[in-house]
């Protein structure tokens, strides 16, 4: 039985839901960051599945750009995490609820 398009979409939905749940329930900012990466990957899987089933290369180009944005987000986000850790000595997001330094 050949894989259907809906299977990939269901897997993508499951991955995205895991990412959303992780962002909501985790208190460690690095874990929340990794859950955001998981959500981006779920969307990437959707793009590649549609691109492959519709024989259109546009989806894979979009995946390429999403990966670039994810790399930029990783660099800036980890810089922010290091800055927060320097000023507060903690990675708990509840303690970093104010934007003041």
């Amino acid at each position: 039985m050949a894989p259907q398009l809906s299977w990939y979409l269901a897997l993508s939905a499951v991955l995205f839901t895991i990412g959303v749940v992780g962002v909501l329930i985790k208190r460690n900012v690095i874990s929340m960051f990794m859950c955001i990466e998981l959500m981006l990957n779920a969307v990437n899987l959707t793009f590649v599945a549609f691109s492959s089933f519709f024989r259109d290369v546009t989806g894979q180009l979009f995946v390429f750009i999403v990966m670039t944005v994810a790399a930029a987000e990783a660099a800036v986000g980890l810089g922010i995490i290091i800055a927060i850790f320097r000023s507060r000595e903690s990675l708990d997001v509840d303690e970093a609820s104010t934007l003041k330094f």
């Binding site: 690095i30 874990s31 859950c35 899987l45 691109s51 670039t68």
Partner: protein
């Protein structure tokens, strides 16, 4: 990954998820995206994350009491509604599924992606490069420790001005700035003249 208490275990399992997704991309006839997935995500981004976890010496999360306990029945009800909708769609909506790719096509190969990137989608590609440059500058600005000048230094263009306590820690109460036009004058005024040459020998 979500249930791990230690972020390092979560990161390692996330690398496993990325590699599995890369295998799925191969089965979807997208070898370029699969390679980029392994190189960029599992190679670059997760190495950065693991590096930060190791650098910051993250401890395990302690189990904290659940807040907003009154909302738990409402959450269970909403989740039941969501699952009912999903089951309705799965079992009752007739799906007109697309045909899987069986014959050979060049969609997903590196050449077709490159041709698309450099012809139709040239502008987003260039904007991506600007975005990466901004990310590099922003990350360096955020991760740098402190500023270039001390708080009590006064900046005047054309002059080299340093606070006295930077040059001589013993004169900490004396915050009058030292004005000098060259390194030699700074050494003269701070009493450091000749010490550098002594260090060299």
């Amino acid at each position: 990954m979500v249930v791990q208490r230690n972020p390092l275990y979560g990161a390692i399992s996330l690398i496993g998820v990325f590699i599995s997704l890369s295998c799925l991309y191969v089965t979807l006839a997208a070898p370029f995206i699969a390679a980029v997935q392994v190189i960029v995500y599992a190679g670059a981004i997760m190495v950065l994350v693991v590096f930060v976890i190791m650098l910051l010496n993250v401890e395990d999360e302690e189990r904290q009491p659940l807040r907003l306990r009154a909302l738990v029945p409402i959450a269970i009800g909403l989740a039941a509604i969501l699952f009912a909708e999903a089951a309705f769609i799965i079992f009752f909506v007739h799906t007109s599924s697309g045909t899987p790719t069986t014959n050979i096509s060049d969609v997903g190969l590196t050449s077709s992606i490159g041709a698309g990137l450099f012809t139709t989608y040239l502008l987003p590609f260039e904007i991506t490069s600007i975005l990466l440059l901004m990310a590099v500058v922003g990350a360096m600005t955020l991760a740098r420790r402190g500023g270039l000048l001390p708080r009590n230094a006064v900046v005047v263009p054309g002059f080299q001005i340093l606070a006295k306590e930077v040059l001589d820690p013993r004169s900490t109460p004396d915050l009058t700035p030292v004005v000098a036009r060259s390194t030699a004058e700074v050494e003269q005024s701070s009493g450091l003249a000749g010490s550098r040459h002594a260090d060299d020998e």
